[in-house]
Symmetry: C2
Subunit: 621 residues, 2 copies
């Protein structure tokens, strides 16, 4: 899942070593001395692998995006496994990912800093002389940026900004590595110049002496305390009492404040959200890492464990298949979708330098997609993790089997980085405003472009579905979802347009439906992006492409089934359609089960990373 090139591998190792003290120390696993005399597991897994419809390595190449990365990942794993320091201190399996997360955070400076600022800081950051943290959230203002209270007041006399936390609720809270590690922080502050409020800007504020680790005067940091997981990461809080920093420490790519004291604000306050977009897309990677480990364990255990009157492999039970197979398919789709949306976001970011107008035009859609993808996908990951846990029976409760730790570490994602309910409403707001534009005669683009067609779609009352084989058609599913999304958007936009000054109250009275509307739109866009992305695999091995298509079909049915009640309620489907969708879902899960073991093998997660005896590659549990 992790993308590592061999050139960056050695520096990654050096960094891991440099921070191993901050990783949580887990007891080594000692396998029980008891051994099974007649292990059937290895034979079961061998048979599953022989019967697979594709070569595992071919699929691994797709996931890791090329042979080169497969080699690099394998080298990285070997290095970690062979190094006693790294092995002993490995935390909750997220070594590489945390490393990536970390760099992601530090690189915010690359977006918001001018090229001079980048030159000044990036060298120290690369060499870990500066360890940064990103201080946006405040104790009283989690997902509500306009409410942030920390101030940065310019003092003309000294040419400095004064950073200050005016009250308890303005304490920067949940700040990764602020507790003990970070030397510098990027602090989001309300900017006050000559008594005027210029909105939010970003400032580099030194926290600790990089040699002694002592806090600078006026800075108070602490650990937020014991968390549900990730105890090794020193998540902390920061309070500032009139801390002075040079004028140049304001990140000035967008807003600038020149030596003559002229402030040029950001062309649009929306730019302050841009780094959140990157952060939210990063969670899609974390979704895959967590889920692939958990599903590898659950699927292998399901193929090895036997139970019941005929001693069946438990993976042959229908409920077991429906618990696990959609999750397996989902990771593959998400892998390709993540590639597509990150490439797109990379292009948009480039426009920031080359075509500012286009950048500004595309930013809101990018913001909407990132928000709703982060929310929707992480919610679904939580569902699948719970299924993985249940499908391992009592064994999932054993900490040795890794799943409880994966669940604990993932928990923060549904509220961290923007509460999911809040994010879904941001997406809903974007949808409502898109439809309003279309109705006013404007054309919209990006994820909501299907709304341009609203006149035609709003006349449809029932599916034109005739033949059960239609269900396999991508177009049929997409049409149904577009219809459902527009149906809800039209209904809710009309209600809201009449609300007048009661807008917030009316919004709240329809909050559940607005979230549901955004849910449909998000899955629809997910399937559309996947369909586009998977075309690029057509040139590869036909059996791999066939498998990817099959998984796309399963997820399409999954989404239809998820919103079956809406289709029935609005009369788009009748009972006959609903039963067909349900049966198709069961059939597709059963069909995919045949390749289940090979599909999890292809994620190529070594046993020493899984750390779960019941999910061992050789099946000798």
């Amino acid at each position: 899942m992790t993308k590592t090139t061999s050139s960056s591998a050695s520096s990654a190792k050096a960094r891991l070593q440099a921070t191993h003290g901050h990783l949580s120390i887990q007891p080594c696993f000692h396998s029980h001395a008891i051994h099974n005399n007649t292990p059937r597991g290895p034979a079961d897994l061998a048979r599953e692998r022989t019967n697979a419809s594709f070569k595992t390595m071919d699929m691994t190449e797709v996931i890791l995006r090329g042979k080169e990365n497969v080699v690099a990942q394998s080298l990285a794993y070997q290095m970690i496994q062979c190094d006693p320091e790294l092995r002993m201190h490995q935390g909750h399996n997220y070594d590489l990912t945390r490393d990536e997360d970390h760099e992601q955070t530090l690189r915010q400076v690359a977006l918001f800093g001018t090229s001079e600022q980048q030159d000044k800081w990036m060298g120290d950051i690369e060499s870990w002389r500066v360890i940064g943290c990103f201080a946006m959230t405040e104790l009283g203002h989690s997902s509500n940026l306009p409410g942030l209270e920390t101030t940065s007041t310019f003092d003309r006399a000294t040419n400095e900004f004064v950073i200050h936390s005016p009250n308890l609720t303005s304490t920067k809270w949940w700040i990764g590595m602020a507790g003990r590690t970070a030397t510098h922080s990027i602090v989001v502050c309300r900017t006050l110049i000559d008594g005027k409020d210029y909105g939010l800007n970003w400032f580099i504020v030194p926290l600790r002496d990089r040699r002694t680790g002592r806090l600078f005067p006026g800075v108070v940091c602490g650990d937020v305390g014991q968390k549900a997981s990730r105890q090794g990461l020193d998540t902390g809080y920061i309070q500032f009492t009139h801390v002075r920093i040079p004028r140049e420490n304001m990140l000035q790519r967008w807003a600038s404040f020149n030596p003559q004291g002229e402030f040029r604000p950001m062309p649009n306050q929306a730019i302050s959200y841009a780094p959140l977009i990157s952060e939210r897309f990063t969670t899609l990677r974390f979704d895959q890492v967590t889920l692939s480990r958990s599903l590898t364990i659950a699927v292998r255990y399901g193929a090895v464990r036997r139970q019941g009157a005929h001693d069946e492999q438990i993976l042959d039970y229908q409920t077991h298949q429906t618990m696990l197979m959609p999750g397996v398919a989902f990771i593959y789709l998400l892998n390709i979708v993540e590639r597509e949306v990150c490439e797109k976001w990379g292009q948009v970011k480039k426009f920031a330098q080359t075509d500012t107008e286009r950048f500004m035009r595309e930013l809101p859609d990018q913001h909407g997609v990132a928000a709703s993808f982060k929310a929707m996908m992480s919610w679904y990951v939580v569902e699948v993790l719970e299924s993985c846990s249940r499908s391992c029976g009592g064994h999932a409760y054993s900490a040795y089997n890794a799943i409880p730790g994966l669940i604990g570490d993932f928990g923060v994602i549904t509220t961290g980085g923007g509460d999911n309910i809040v994010l879904m409403q941001q997406s809903a707001r974007f949808m409502i405003s898109a439809l309003r534009k279309v109705r006013a005669g404007q054309e919209v683009e990006g994820s909501v472009d299907y709304m341009n067609d609203y006149g035609r779609v709003s006349l449809i009352t029932k599916t034109s579905f005739q033949d059960p084989r239609d269900l396999f058609s991508h177009e049929f599913v997409i049409d149904a979802l577009k219809w459902a999304s527009l149906k809800k958007t039209i209904e809710l936009q009309e209600v809201l347009s009449k609300a007048g000054t009661d807008f917030d109250m009316v919004w709240n009275a329809h909050q559940t439906e607005l979230v549901r509307m955004a849910d449909i739109h998000t899955w629809l866009h997910f399937l559309i992006v996947y369909q586009r992305g998977v075309q690029r695999e057509k040139a590869g091995k036909p059996e791999v492409y066939a498998m990817l298509k099959k998984m796309g079909q399963l997820m399409s049915t999954f989404v239809l089934k998820r919103h079956l009640d809406l289709f029935l309620e609005e009369g788009y489907f009748d009972g006959w359609h609903a039963k067909l969708v349900r049966q198709l879902f069961l059939d597709q899960c059963k069909d995919l089960r045949k390749d289940a073991v090979a599909l999890v093998d292809a994620w190529a997660i070594p046993d020493f990373v899984l750390k779960a005896p019941i999910g061992k590659y050789d099946g000798d549990i």
Copy 2:
């Protein structure tokens, strides 16, 4: 939630002290030194309490079943709070519950032992000279009793039984307190006498010397290792190598084996499930304890925390209400339902002594109800816990706020004590067999008695619903659920009746639908039992009764909404009905929100037990 009489309080204290070494040691919480200068929380909570429609204490009396118990619980809490030993060592808040659980386990002997056996053992058990554990589950056979492999072979020469674990998979596994504590175990074994297999029976097997704690020869016990939670409980495994026990150690209430060597087997093997029924009903208590703590925290936080453009209490957001209010109502219903089903089970157990035939006749229904209630309720508790966690935003992630610990400790319940999917299928099997009986002209009783009416109900195709006010009628909801349950049961019983020798295969192909069928039946029975139970509160304070009725109505709508897709799919409801049900659910959540704080206050959980700063009674978070 916990029922303690003052007479048992002092012995409970003595026991807690006797075992405090086994409780997990948690770091004390040190409140942060920072204080808010302008706390609005206390005023917010005070206003919520003033506006409540009932007196908290009146409701507490209902929940704890009488004034006496309110006093006793308050005394017990005081005692724990004032005793530095108990306070310091308190585990994950379950002191009283674990104590109860423990006694529950030990009291199995009362059901399966003869009165002589009870006389012999109960004194030592009461005084903790004997610490028992209950060894049923085996490593290879979790929820599958017929597959158990541990043997008890009678040796005529010495008048002893020889207990033996023939292989690895027969290791007794997940046995509470077997790791280090228990002196004796009740072991479920396959009984072999003169080469003949007499099925499962129960044997008292000494494990450790009660003074030295050393294991007896032939007994190997160990800890199963680190678990996802409840680290303080020494969950363990046991292996026996030809361990000899006297003939009298077979529990002989049902099966007996006299000195002349004549074996009289149990009248029905189903009796061996009876102790599972008690164990499963006990989980309904644990559901309440876990959920009441978690919801107290989430609701108080929701009333104190403000967010958004108009700085609303977050409990005023619609999605927040729908996440929390059904859970609040659910506990109240469950509290009354638990009382009803446990009283009923108490009566049935008495028939074991007075009217064996009736006992045998009622046992299968009790087994079905216990299995499906354990499964369904614990699944729903997991859902609500997740909602509680999400509704506290980032704060739920802090271990200081108790919710992560509650979730971790609860996790085992969905698979422990019988995997939920397996239990739901037991309920489904019972339903199918009941309908088969009805169709063969027999009458059925207990939870499935509505099936007697199947001829009439099966002719109905659509609700007779006319007036939106009907939705408030208990009868309307019950009728709809009976219809839905019978509809599915008829459909699936017909499919299965044609399966012949392919029965298991056909069962598996319809497993998802069978679980869904049992889901409907279980909620239906839950609502029926509640409706019966709540009548007993009619004599009490009218405003308390009104509130209980209101919560019953919310849960009725919740259940209808849960199965809305089925009602739509089968044409019983149309889109208009569905929209009404959805809107009613939102309205009822909003309405109940007015009393939310008083409703959680009534559970009377002291701050020192909650151990969650964000859920403090005074609102000064």
